[in-house]
Symmetry: C2
Subunit: 439 residues, 2 copies
């Protein structure tokens, strides 16, 4: 009788979920998935939450309900603080978890290149909370502009800066163009939302550098049609409450969104392991950490070099790596040799706006409606397994037909007791606003 092995998977993103799904097929494994959130996020559509087209629950699904009824899968909501490789322990605030195999799939965070203070003024787009915060800022800017009487301040409220010309930056800028040109155009009496300024700033030569120059050009023209101004070869040197500084220039803008860099998960620097660029964890060809043959790192958290290039932080990479790790653990259990990971390139795509996208796959380059249709098909296909795919399709159909956006709800940041505490002031302090608001 073979002894049961404990596998701990940290992180319920594309990599972690796929690892657990594959691992669970082997009844000799007891799998524990630890995540600090209770939900798996369909990250490719997160910008749609930030831009009020979808609701948070439409792209998020409770991890527990994904694995409801899986007998050998346990879900723990908690924050992993560290790993003791010698004792094979994953450490959390409330308990240590013993592992035979460990799969790290913690993903990545926003990176501000050391400019820590910028985050409060320019949120990135990695979590639902950030998406909701961006939605709040964008919608509130229009509300404030409408009631503002000073034309200079109004202009500042109607100026949106997106920093970073990768796919996320493109999607945010394009969606801002759509909202201001179409969705909101009849809703305000004191502003013309179609005159909103949207500036996309990219430090490099051109936007979307991972695509061919031709497709990158098509994307630029698509964005310009939506009213987005693109500034390439432009470096942001400062961000504050009032706008963005570019060396000697200054853009007054109340809303700045950050899509310029991703950095390591919290955990990476706490583990004494070798890090590659962006502080991702350097892994062997079988995705293990050098010297730790039972610890795998996958997805955005891993720095895996193939043909001289590090694999990018894409969902297909994480999905394939998650499934691959399970295969190698199964091989171990059958005492067969492990295999090296090979990435099967699924191509890259980015959506620009209403019925416009670019797709690059195996030498094929597509743009416009056909590319958008492929984008839509792929995203709906991958959403299968999500209970709410029908609702999303319905929602999209609705918003593409009507130019409306269903989730234009501003909720106040962070619930707190409303009543003023007097005698008991100490027991219910009202939280201070962040510096971003106070300054």
């Amino acid at each position: 009788m073979s002894q049961k092995k404990n596998v701990i998977v940290v992180g319920g993103g594309f990599g972690g979920i796929n690892a657990v799904k594959s691992l669970s097929k082997n009844p000799d494994l007891d799998i524990t998935l630890i995540d600090r959130r209770n939900h798996h996020l369909f990250q490719p559509l997160l910008y749609q939450v930030a831009m009020a087209a979808l609701s948070p629950a439409e792209i998020a699904v409770p991890i527990r309900s994904i694995f409801s009824g899986y007998r050998n899968v346990d879900i723990v909501m908690g924050n992993v603080l560290g790993v003791n490789f010698d004792k094979k322990l994953v450490q959390t605030k409330f308990r240590d978890f013993q592992y035979d195999y460990l799969v790290l799939a913690c993903g990545a965070m926003n990176c501000y290149f050391g400019n820590v203070g910028w985050e409060g003024f320019a949120p990135g787009l990695k979590s639902l909370e950030e998406a909701i915060e961006i939605r709040r800022r964008v919608l509130t800017a229009f509300e404030k502009a409408d009631r503002e009487e000073d034309p200079e301040k109004q202009k500042q409220l109607l100026t949106f800066v997106v920093v970073g010309g990768g796919p996320t930056g493109i999607e945010l800028a394009g969606a801002l163009g759509e909202i201001s040109r179409y969705t909101l155009s009849r809703d305000f009496r004191h502003i013309d939302s179609r005159r909103t300024r949207i500036i996309l700033i990219e430090a490099g030569e051109r936007i979307l550098p991972s695509f061919s120059p031709e497709l990158s050009g098509k994307a630029s023209r698509g964005l310009e049609k939506l009213g987005v101004t693109i500034w390439t070869k432009t470096k942001v040197t400062g961000i504050d409450q009032e706008g963005v500084t570019l060396k000697n220039e200054r853009i007054l803008a109340k809303t700045v969104l950050w899509a310029a860099g991703i950095g390591p998960a919290d955990l990476n620097e706490k583990l004494s392991v070798e890090l590659g660029s962006q502080n991702r964890i350097r892994v062997n060809s079988d995705l293990t950490i050098p010297g730790q043959s039972n610890v795998f790192v996958i997805g955005d958290q891993a720095y895996f070099v193939e043909n001289g290039n590090a694999l990018p932080g894409l969902a297909p990479v994480a999905i394939q790596q998650g499934k691959f790790v399970a295969k190698n653990i199964f091989a171990d259990m059958k005492q067969k040799p492990r295999k090296p990971f090979k990435y099967l390139d699924k191509g890259i795509m980015a959506t620009i706006g209403r019925a416009d996208a670019i797709v690059q796959f195996a030498g094929m380059k597509l743009n416009g409606f056909i590319a958008w249709a492929i984008w839509l098909f792929v995203h709906i296909f991958y959403l299968i397994g999500f209970r709410n795919r029908m609702i999303i399709i319905f929602q999209w159909g609705w918003s593409y037909l009507t130019f409306r956006r269903g989730a234009r709800i501003i909720t106040i940041r962070g619930w707190k007791p409303l009543l003023k505490a007097n005698a008991r002031k100490k027991s219910v302090p009202s939280r201070k606003k962040t510096a971003a608001k106070k300054k």
Copy 2:
């Protein structure tokens, strides 16, 4: 040529929205609707957001989009700080608004009967933010219970107390019963969610005192079937981080929800006007404030006595009063006499759980499935005008068929910058948790 009149409506609830819709039919009126939120809330279904069955955007609709294209309606998002009756000005932080007619429809807030400190430990259910906070607490309690090893603490995490046996308390307690008995029953490995304790505390003789004793009894039995324990004639004397105190008794419970009282809108005490019970504003038979013939108060904010009883805080009252105010303003403009308001009783209803409700209307008393079908029909009917009624029906159909709840998402309370500030610590302080969490 008649001169245009300014009408200011404060509050975008049922009363305010219906007042504006009716008023807008008269092109001689310029109407400004001021609300501190950007959305109208379908409050009767708010408990479904708190209980993870619906997403916030499914019961909220941007006020602007309701009145998109209405030429004589202007929407302002802002907090009304006061009213200067002499100068006919509505005061906000950013501007004063002049009115010829003023309609106050600010609704009501939770009331803790002077126990200000309780709110942090026992949130009420009046806004989307509160609903999201309740959802977070309820779902997090199950997560923490599952990973808790001390059986006493586990029991405390799996004890839910609902204070208040009115319709909101019933709906919350019933939904908690459903979640724990059905939705979550297969999702946890270390707890049996079906053993969750749900205690409903009511100070009076029986729950749902506005219904007949017979229906109130049926509701009690329905709740008991869902595992809810009902304690009547029980007064809460203390609420803290660890539970609830009842004179000499103590219930250890990590989650306490407040549905025991509603109180006045912020504004009421700032206006020097006569207040009725619950500090609602006492109004004349035409809904005006005594001495202010051009200032109307409607809905939960108004204290209107009919046949010796104050009208309750129900949607049908607010809707009828909103429409009625418009008629009287139209009468003024034609120099015809105003009429007194008469409430057309639409009956009362409360839902207990899956396919169970009670309805009392014109001497008719219904319960069980038939009452629930009526409840459902009425709510879907009133949702018409909401763009998302189709999605709600779809969502409900889905969750009633599968016992699942689609919106089981825990978001962290209040976005804040994640990165640790070092040198620039001052500029981005991480917010402190409330005392409720720290203690």
